[in-house]
Symmetry: D2
Subunit: 223 residues, 4 copies
């Protein structure tokens, strides 16, 4: 009887004291229009939520979208206090870069490579200073052709390379979507199509694309 | 006797109460390559220092340059903690905008008008929150022709207009260098030259230009 | 009697043989989308046709549109044999330049100023070599604001200046639409609107714009 | 004896009657700054001349450079009468495309892909109409990195693809320098350098590059 009481007490105490370990992970997905759409029905963040539910992990993760269209890396820096830190996240997944490259061509307002790196580092530093785990992604694609003839392939590869270096230098986990997409496209886009495989327009994810990205995110988040 | 006491008391009180007015003004000039050069010998900040000395005001003002080449408005935002706030200024003179327009053409990495405004406002807000006086300048010139045929005249006028609005909305003092330059050029550049009047290359100040800008700054700082 | 008959006969013959002097003027309007729309109902070429009819001059002029959207000066050069010379015109009115400036910003494919001049001269030379009268126009507007804050005002003014020089050097008649528009806008666009005065979108003519251009063309064609 | 005489006679006759087949080939190299440099000492056209001499073929070929810096495809079209047809060539080797891509980034004045094709076809058509043999080349490189991270790799690959299609449609011989360079670079640029392998600056040929190009040209010209 005494023993039982002891065990019950111990268990109760254990539950209380171990509670922090079972603390809900608060994950903010921080990015551009791709992530903005990711928080909409069937978007990659929603699909990821379903995947967690199927594994019975829904109580352990809280997923929050913080994507805004037309955003480049310095836009993220400008709004990170309001849109990320204010949400008090345990983890931030950053996915940015497409507009930094694309807008050079479409409006003359892309981001210089050295400044891209500078702002990206500043964001990470500020998050890590608050003990927030930072996971970063390479930009997936602007055009789905597999023979390196998408107009901006060279520059996008360059910026993906910069992000890989940033991950290594800042000790961040990397989700290499550019590499993942290329592997998938080489296997599945045998007709060298410009869009329609994982995207609707070469950039924004279609249903298959949202599932694919959610799957890649899952691997990084749940281990 | 009573009178003397009264005077002494009044003087002491006056010294105390007027003390803040005699406090040294610490002025940071925050900008791009034009301001970086402004802190070099014969640069506009140095000329301004000489002007203050000639008026016997050298002890009342401390001038500090914080210009870095190739900077756009978001670069200022990124480095304002280290390069401006750390200097504990009483006044900040911001002069930026040329590269935000120019880089659209030269490298595809200019700044979109709405984001230019957004970052500019964010800088001012952060400075004013610390009770720092903010004075802002319109970009002077990219090409000195007076007949509106400088390639980027239209866009530069547009951004100058944005800055005038920003000044009004944020209750900042404005040094309208774009307007000042135009007035000067119309009187003195009768041959419609592209450069050589106030600049060496259409953008960066020559000796006359540094004196001219120092003069305009003087009007705003010492009243 | 014989003499009279002779005179009458001679006169009749003369009328017939001099007919070529009363020959119909065949005018080709050679340009971009603005001219392409000009040949559609209510377009400036159609309005010009109505104006000629009102003056009873419809039999003396044949107006033909040769405008194609997205055209720049070198596109005109490439297609001038098929689209202009094949029509055997007596007069060609060239109106081009907006895309040469505009596409620099929108797609990185505008036309360098020296090449703009080079191709323009080559077109004129080829037309004049066939004794075709050449009338050239300055580009009217990209944005209708009157305070020189339309983004591309500077560059468009520059290209308008190039065309004025070309007219002078090649002894071509000039229809200075850029100047005409500015005069009209300063009188009628008192609210500094970006569009809606003479254009629907800052570039393409609205009803008023088509009438205005037709009026300016009329002055140049019928004297 | 009679036989020998017969043979001698036959040979003499043969030499005379076959003479037209031994007519000197007049080859014009038509292109941009790379070809302009190719006609200078140690340039690829000069190296090619030496290679022909070493094979004792110097009397059968006359090589003429017609490269001008900053040229794009439409510049070639504009000057082909004066610079190519006036030289009465039997063969024209066209090598153009780098500036059509590059100038999009550096000055906003590159060439749209459909117009690139349009002008290229027009040049070939005009040459073939005069029974001139046309050999065309893909643009070699803008940056020598082998991992597809040169900024303009995607667009340059796209334009190379367009040229390959043009060759096929117009029944032109193709010298696929883009492919040849890539093969060479993958074997010899193991450190993924940006320049210095076959070029001095990522675009213009160094000594090794001139020899390499001359070798590839040789294969196409002498069979």
């Amino acid at each position: 009887m005494r023993l039982l009481l002891f065990i019950a007490t111990f268990t109760a105490l254990a539950l209380v004291s171990f509670a922090p370990m079972q603390q809900k992970q608060r994950i903010v997905f921080f990015g551009d229009s791709i992530t903005q759409q990711g928080a909409q029905p069937n978007g990659y963040i929603m699909v990821l939520g379903d995947m967690l539910k199927q594994k019975g992990l829904q109580d352990k993760y809280e997923l929050m979208g913080a994507g805004i269209g037309v955003n480049k890396v310095y836009d993220l820096y400008l709004r990170m206090d309001d849109d990320v830190l204010a949400k008090n996240p345990t983890t931030v997944v950053i996915w940015v870069g497409v507009n930094d490259v694309w807008h050079k061509r479409t409006s003359g307002t892309g981001t210089d490579a050295p400044k891209f790196e500078q702002f990206y580092n500043a964001i990470i530093k500020k998050l890590q200073a608050k003990n927030i785990k930072v996971i970063i992604c390479t930009p997936a694609t602007i055009g789905e052709k597999t023979d390196y003839t998408n107009e901006l392939d060279g520059d996008l590869n360059r910026y993906a390379g910069i992000i890989r270096n940033i991950a290594q230098k800042n000790n961040c986990e990397l989700i290499d979507l550019r590499k993942d997409f290329l592997t998938y496209e080489q296997a599945n886009n045998t007709e060298n199509k410009e869009k329609g495989i994982l995207t609707v327009d070469g950039v924004h994810l279609n249903e298959k694309g949202n599932q694919f990205v959610a799957g890649e995110m899952m691997k990084a988040l749940v281990k």
